[in-house]
């Protein structure tokens, strides 16, 4: 059957399970430092980058942009991002809206990207790195973490060997669960419905956050298409019990529901690709390493998408892990060295917990009904607006813990 394949054995410094926006970016960062990786992904990259694959979009913070610049992805990405010039906030479309527009000294609110564009730029850079071996469409059969190294056996019999195993499979990471990590987790009882929208009027680089008691309804600005069509990404939070109903709506009925909630701010709208949804939950592990294993991205910390911090936090994991492993390699320490992994864990622990906890508090605040909570929410939005400041404070905290910000996050 697969006897030939069964004899195949591949070796690299690091075996990364999950070749998404966090896992593959890690491989690129390691390659730039002279470390090789084998990247395993269960999906097909061609399907992941196909037009209209999904409506997912990410806010890219200044630090994440620095990382992309340092890894050689910025040139391809620069023309594709939509700068967020302002955040417009309304409470269930009650009269009045609050605009947050940062001053010059506040720093950028970030840039919005379709995840598809991030993926394409990432795969292009990865394809040029000889130290990256990408194994897409691959199913993991077994994982072993031994005294001298790790071995991953794929369903087709191929064996991948390395010094360190990295779990970058996202929030449902089977590697994390198999290793017996016990994340603190709770469910919000809500589901985020994600879709790409095209619309009649320009969004004017404004992100809309419209707060309903069921949760935030967000419209994140994307760059216009080549023909001038205006685009935004929709993140609509609904109660879990209502989700099936919303997903089952026909396209016309779905758009009618969306339009009702948007209050016509963008004029006529249309769907730009299929709808998808995922349950919102919070999980966090204080422990992000084990014997020859490191967790990165959502495998370590799944957070609410309300503040758009998920990918940014994952890329901070990448920057810290690349620096720790590269510094170790300079000293002759292998990637699976327990001291290096302990350093990565110390470096990341404070940052991930603060961001996850802050977004959790916001989410709970927005879930309350009534006039007072509504006022508190408006007040709380000032906090959201100040998130870059809070973020800076978190980072300063992390800096105090670690001595410095990862090099890859610096301009």
């Amino acid at each position: 059957m697969s006897n030939v394949a069964a004899e195949q054995s591949l070796a690299g410094d690091v075996v990364i399970l999950g070749g998404g926006l966090v896992g593959m970016t890690l491989a690129i960062g390691l390659a730039k430092q002279g470390l090789s990786s084998l990247v395993v992904d269960s999906s097909d990259p061609a399907a992941q980058t196909a037009e209209g694959f999904d409506g997912r979009a990410s806010a890219i913070s200044t630090a994440s942009w620095n990382l992309y610049t340092n890894l050689g992805m910025a040139e391809a990405l620069a023309p594709k991002g939509c700068p967020i010039d302002a955040i417009a906030v309304t409470d269930s479309l009650k009269p009045g809206r609050i605009d947050f527009r940062p001053g010059a000294e506040d720093g950028s609110l970030g840039r919005m990207y379709a995840n598809r564009d991030l993926r394409m730029a990432m795969y292009d850079v990865a394809a040029r790195e000889s130290l990256i071996t990408f194994l897409p469409n691959a199913q993991v059969a077994t994982r072993e973490r031994g005294e001298h190294g790790v071995a991953v056996t794929l369903a087709d019999g191929r064996v991948l060997k390395g010094s360190l195993l990295v779990a970058a499979e996202g929030r449902r990471s089977p590697t994390r669960d198999e290793a017996g990590f016990t994340p603190a987790r709770w469910d919000y009882g809500h589901r985020a419905i994600i879709a790409g929208l095209t619309h009649e009027r320009s969004h004017e680089n404004t992100a809309w956050e419209i707060f309903y008691p069921a949760g935030p309804f967000a419209l994140l600005p994307l760059l216009d298409e080549a023909d001038g069509t205006h685009r935004s990404a929709l993140v609509w939070t609904v109660a879990e019990k209502d989700a099936a109903g919303v997903l089952a709506l026909g396209e016309t009925a779905f758009l009618a529901e969306v339009e009702k909630r948007m209050g016509g701010v963008f004029g006529k709208i249309a769907l730009n690709g299929p709808r998808s949804s995922y349950p919102l939950n919070f999980h966090h592990t204080a422990k992000v390493v084990d014997h020859r294993l490191a967790l990165v991205g959502d495998a370590a910390h799944g957070m609410h998408p309300i503040a758009g911090q998920g990918l940014n936090v994952g890329l901070r994991d990448v920057a810290a892990l690349v620096e720790v492993l590269a510094e170790g390699a300079r000293l002759g320490l292998e990637p699976g060295d327990a001291q290096l992994l302990a350093r990565y864990e110390r470096w990341r622990a404070a940052d991930t917990f603060m961001v996850a906890a802050a977004t959790d508090v916001l989410t709970r605040l927005f879930g309350l009904r009534g006039r007072l909570p509504s006022m508190v929410r408006r007040f709380g939005m000032a906090g959201v607006q100040r998130l870059p400041t809070l973020k800076r404070w978190f980072m300063d905290e992390a800096r105090g813990m670690s001595g410095k910000l990862p090099e890859l996050l610096k301009a």
Binding site: E147, H148, G332, L333, A338, L340, R343
Partner: protein, 246 residues
Amino acid sequence: MSNATTLSAQTIRPEEAAHFGKLAADWWDPKGQSAMLHKLNPVRLGFIRAAIDTHFAADPRGLRPLAGKRALDVGCGAGLLAEPLHRMGAAVTAVDAAAENIAAARAHAEGAGLTIDYRHGELAELGLAGFDLVTSMEVIEHVADKPAFVAALAQTLGQGGLMVLSTPNRTPASRVLMVEAAERLGMVPRGTHHWDDFITPIELHDLLEAAGLKMGNPQGIAWGPAKGLHLSDDLALNYIVTVTRA
């Protein structure tokens, strides 16, 4: 050499060799009895790497600064330092007085697929010479005849070679923290250190000078609650130095 056996009896204390032999199996467990050594390893490797880059004008970003060079680690234990030196590109020879340590070191290197020339025995008897890099970490404080040991180290260093030594300082602080507290709290195994055997940087300087060697500026290895073990200007506990031919 007629004096070799005498030297052997002088520099290896049988009770110390037996003590480390018991630790051999546990050496490579980062949470085991040698946990403190594992934590110390990246710190002293940081010093060694900087010294290599300076001495050999190596690219600080390179991953194999010792490629084409021969390195010797004296008092290698189970290979905690020898393996990183090998990964940095050196052809490594490593020596230890305890046969159990060498057995543990060989087993570990074989498992990791690393080729390291491990030798059990007395340094002066092994006829080793001409090394580009010689390291001896936390060893001299365990040696009875320190001038003989330093002379034997000097024999191994090639022309233009670099030596790196580290050892605890003999200060009130090291007596309280490294011997009394660290051993009582189980941070290092009991019987690891005898404070009276510790040497100060000035004493080490004089020992090296007598053997025709020149000591560089010592750097301290200190401990703090936030930073853990780190390189520091504070020499009170432990220090690490570069050494070259005078």
